[in-house]
């Protein structure tokens, strides 16, 4: 007698793509080629990874640093660059208080340094550029969403894409100069003259759901757990189906 598993509840958010287990298993050398400051707390690190197999917007990688005694520290980071940036990847990292990996990047790293990466990882938060995408992020949670925005632009895609991004202030809005008409920033501490200050609210989300494209939105939420809880509740309250909300929480 053989049984197969038949879920009693509706299956949660399926993965978007098949992932390569081979790519995920191999560590590759990534050479730092450029550092760009984004905000007082965040910078973008550009790497040459000649054998990078490519990724989809929204995927992440694992990065490893090795000390002389063989001690290693590894972290998951979302990829900021779009797949079109062949042979290169960019990561945008906050300088975490006491962070041993982000601390090295912000205090020590310079072009020419080598680190190791494996990936891309996880097909769950990936956006292949097919379905209309409603992106909601806060702080450095905008990083994987920016890969989607850049991919959308690089390909000249006509599928609708909107980005709601929360930051404490205009100075702390990562990628501020790159945003276009697709993006609505929300400022929680200080804002330019005439722009309201406050937390992301139903008033930001409801109009986007009221004007849904055909087939509805695929929602991608990224940020701290507190933000992800808040934003996903706003989406549910506005009528977004739970099985079309993908959440990447930064831990």
């Amino acid at each position: 007698m053989t049984e197969t598993f038949a879920p009693v509840t509706r299956f949660a958010v399926p993965g978007r793509i098949a992932v390569s287990s081979r790519a995920a298993a191999e560590w590759q050398t990534a050479t730092l080629t450029e550092v760009r400051r984004e905000t007082p707390y965040a910078a973008t690190f550009r790497f040459a990874v000649p054998a990078w197999q490519g990724h989809l917007p929204g995927q992440h990688l694992m990065l490893r640093l090795t000390a002389e005694d063989g001690y290693t520290a590894q972290r998951h980071y979302s990829i900021a660059s779009p797949p079109e940036d062949s042979g290169h990847i960019e990561l945008t990292l906050d300088h975490v208080e006491g962070g041993e990996v982000s601390g090295w990047f912000h205090s020590v790293a310079r072009p020419g340094d080598e680190v190791e990466v494996r990936g891309p990882l996880s097909g769950f938060f990936a956006w292949p550029g097919d379905r209309p995408a409603l992106l909601i992020g806060a702080g450095s949670g905008v990083v994987p969403l920016m890969s989607m925005v850049r991919h959308h632009r690089a390909r000249g895609l006509s599928v609708p894409l909107r980005l709601l991004v929360s930051a404490r202030s205009p100075e702390e809005l990562i990628y501020a100069r790159e945003f276009g008409a697709e993006t609505t920033p929300v400022f929680t501490r200080s804002a330019p003259q005439g722009v309201p200050v406050g937390r992301m609210a139903a008033a930001h989300v409801a109009p986007l759901l009221a004007a849904q494209p055909e087939g509805g939105w695929e929602a991608y939420v990224c940020g701290s757990n507190a933000f992800a809880e808040h934003a996903s509740r706003l989406l549910v309250q506005a009528g977004q189906p739970v099985d079309r909300i993908r959440i990447e929480r930064f831990g």
Binding site: T4, F5, T9, V13, A24, A67, D113, E114, N225, I245
Partner: protein, 201 residues
């Protein structure tokens, strides 16, 4: 070995409880669920065990609490590299549920599933012998919703994505069927001591 220029890392600690590639998260307990946290009260919670068993059975909250209480005090390990030491969970050993449904001899694996539809697969041997629990208390208090309350599966000797939050049931099978993260590139078993993070490991 590819030494990173100028990288010293944290002060070395001789911690034999730390699996390879992990760090001690201290008091932090990151939440990494991929789906919307469900609004699930104890009154709405049920737990079912079916598949290759003599007597499929569904327990509600009160029925599950009549089973003998059992606790886990020890460590947990997340695939994203953090480990958390000295955590205390309380609930019921999975052995107590399985003793009621009586697995067939042909059952080798299980799919655990959540009230959200999340799934994860495990060898049956990882769920028996006092190594797995249905847990509803953390540190003497009700398990917080974002950590899987009212009740989650707890399999602390495997990476924590195996410990399904908001657990709704187990289906016993005679073969392995990849669950949610396992279909998304993660390892079928997830043993932190062998660093089985991704499917190629």
């Amino acid at each position: 070995m590819n030494v990173t220029r100028g990288f010293d890392g944290r002060p070395r600690v001789q911690n034999t409880g730390l699996p390879p590639g992990q760090y001690d998260a201290g008091d932090d307990w990151p939440v990494l669920s991929a789906e919307v946290t469900p609004d699930l009260s104890p009154a709405d919670w049920t737990f079912r065990v079916d598949g290759l068993v003599e007597q499929p059975r569904t327990w509600d909250w009160d029925e599950a609490h009549t089973l003998p209480a059992s606790a886990y005090e020890g460590d947990i390990h997340c695939v994203t590299s953090w480990s958390k030491f000295g955590v205390r969970f309380a609930g019921v050993s999975l052995d107590a549920f399985l003793a009621v449904v009586r697995p067939h001899g042909s059952a080798t694996h299980a799919v655990a599933y959540s009230h959200t539809g999340y799934t994860t697969n495990l060898p049956l041997a990882d769920l028996t012998g006092g190594r797995a629990w249905i847990a509803w208390e953390y540190d003497g208090k009700p398990l917080p919703t974002e950590h899987g309350g009212p009740a989650r599966l707890l399999v602390p000797h495997l990476y924590f994505w195996k410990s399904a939050k908001w657990v709704a049931g187990l289906t016993l099978l005679d073969h392995d069927e990849p669950g949610f993260w396992e279909q998304n590139g993660y390892h079928a078993r997830g043993n932190p001591w062998e660093e089985q993070r991704y499917s190629g490991d």
